[in-house]
Symmetry: C2
């Protein structure tokens, strides 16, 4: 199961009902936070997510609309009595700016706070367990920036609890079933694996690409992902502004999605100059059909 | 004219409809911001204030619920094309933490940004013009903290435009009237000053005291002010917590207000543990009658 909740999808300055970038991604029970604009902790509360379960926060770059909410979230975790470790992945400098603020407030966290500072311009693995891996996607922007690719793993087969309930299986037999084996009971009865288990969900891939200029070197890294979030700060009529500020247009996002053969494209990071978001979807749909609009607090199944 | 708008009045962690500390004070046309918790810029937009007019921001101390919104506001001023200078008054360290974040984002402000760092434990004057003065009120908290006393000045007498409209006065005669003089026209007619002018508002005093432990040495600094904002994080049933965390109870705030002979007391900086704010007012009213509750986005005439 991979599920994405948009906490904020607007660029530059936060406004009422227009929150800056943050996303919550749940992958097989892991809860990841991606970017953390000002006010993210309030959006997390509104989303009703159990946000104390977040153990890994990925920050793409150090522009304010992507990380000014981080220090507040870290502080609130402390005030709420957190004890679980928290891992923060982000550009070099992020540790200094957070620890300086904790020092000035004389408010060191009571929980372990680990910083993983990034400076490589090549894709690198940040986190992996038996359910998911996370790697960076080098992006091109005015400051050092990474996107992130989340890939869930094939899980063990699921026990069909209704089918096994009268068989009185031993623990090792459950493990055999989860690993795909068929089993034979002490009384001689044999069961095909498929008779007692359910097929788990196939692996899923989610690619987060914000902020970034249009650049085709990204394409091989995100081929055939199930869902691509690609920033679309501007429309084509402002392509000059997109180039100058190293952002993308909705059409450029669609070009990347099409070239990479992704299943679905999610647009976002809208400039405040546009009032009607339908223009973004119309522009992208001229070359790529499966396109969706981010909205604050909307959830997408990957 | 002195008018106070509460932007946020809750302590510790921001929640939906519970914003951390920030206040907007308008004094004779000057717009001052006092403290700047996370999300203050959105509260400023909701208040409908012309917040680009703010030229002076006073930060009491470097706990997050009083200043984590400052970097976002400074950044937004830049994105909104500000050119007017901005002055920030706050504890030593505030310049380093703000400039570090601007450096990491490669986003220096295009407008002049002046920091006035404070470290004195004695009251000092921070700003003065012909309409208002601002001095610090040393407070006692877990980190270095100042309150602020705003005192408006007696303005010139106001011209009664209806009374003078057929007199065809010269510029110097307007100035004479504003200074309280009576005048004689070229045709020999004499006018008492009061016949042609209106009495300006009397000077007003507003004292902001948050965060602070109960301490009586504050009293002489705030005697007879028109409005005292004194934090009341706790109720008396949690007086032990108030003492431990160097905050005040509603009763303690009322004691200070009564001893200082202030006209009105405004409570705020409520702990999230209380659901019914009426308890704060009931507790304070046992010893001081003119007590009011802060509410986010509520405006008080000083």
């Amino acid at each position: 199961m991979m599920e994405l909740t948009i906490l904020g999808c607007h660029s530059a300055t936060p406004r009422e009902h227009k929150h800056t970038t943050s996303q919550l991604l749940e992958v097989q029970g892991n809860l990841f936070l991606i970017d953390c604009g000002e006010g993210t902790q309030i959006q997390l509360r509104k989303s009703k997510a159990k946000f104390s379960r977040i153990q890994h926060i990925f920050i793409s770059h150090l522009h304010g609309d992507h990380f000014y909410g981080l220090i507040g979230l870290i502080s609130s975790f402390r005030l709420l009595g957190r004890t679980a470790p928290l891992n923060v992945y982000g550009p070099k400098g992020i540790k200094e700016v957070i620890t300086l603020q904790l020092k000035l407030a004389k408010s060191w966290t009571d929980y372990p706070l680990h910083f993983h500072e990034l400076s490589s311009s090549k894709s690198q693995i940040l986190f992996e367990d038996d359910r998911v891996s996370v790697v960076t996607l080098p992006l091109i922007h005015r400051v050092y920036t990474n996107g992130f690719l989340f890939t869930s793993k094939t899980l063990k087969r699921k026990i069909n609890t209704a089918a096994v309930k009268d068989l009185n299986l031993a623990d090792y037999q459950y493990r055999q079933l989860q690993q795909g084996q068929s089993i034979t009971l002490a009384d001689g009865r044999s069961f095909e694996n498929k008779a007692l288990t359910l097929t788990p969900e196939l692996p899923k891939k989610y690619a987060y690409c914000s902020d970034t200029a249009y650049h085709e070197s990204l394409i091989p890294h995100i081929e055939k992902v199930d869902l691509l979030y690609h920033e679309s700060t501007f429309l084509e009529k402002h392509a000059d502004l997109a180039e100058k500020t190293m952002h993308s247009t909705a059409l450029q996002a669609a070009k990347i999605a099409k070239a990479a053969g992704v299943k679905r494209l999610l647009l976002g990071h809208y400039s405040n100059r546009y009032t009607d978001k339908v223009e973004f979807i119309n522009e992208a749909k001229t070359i790529f059909d499966a396109v969706y609009l981010s909205e604050d607090l909307k959830t997408f199944s990957v």
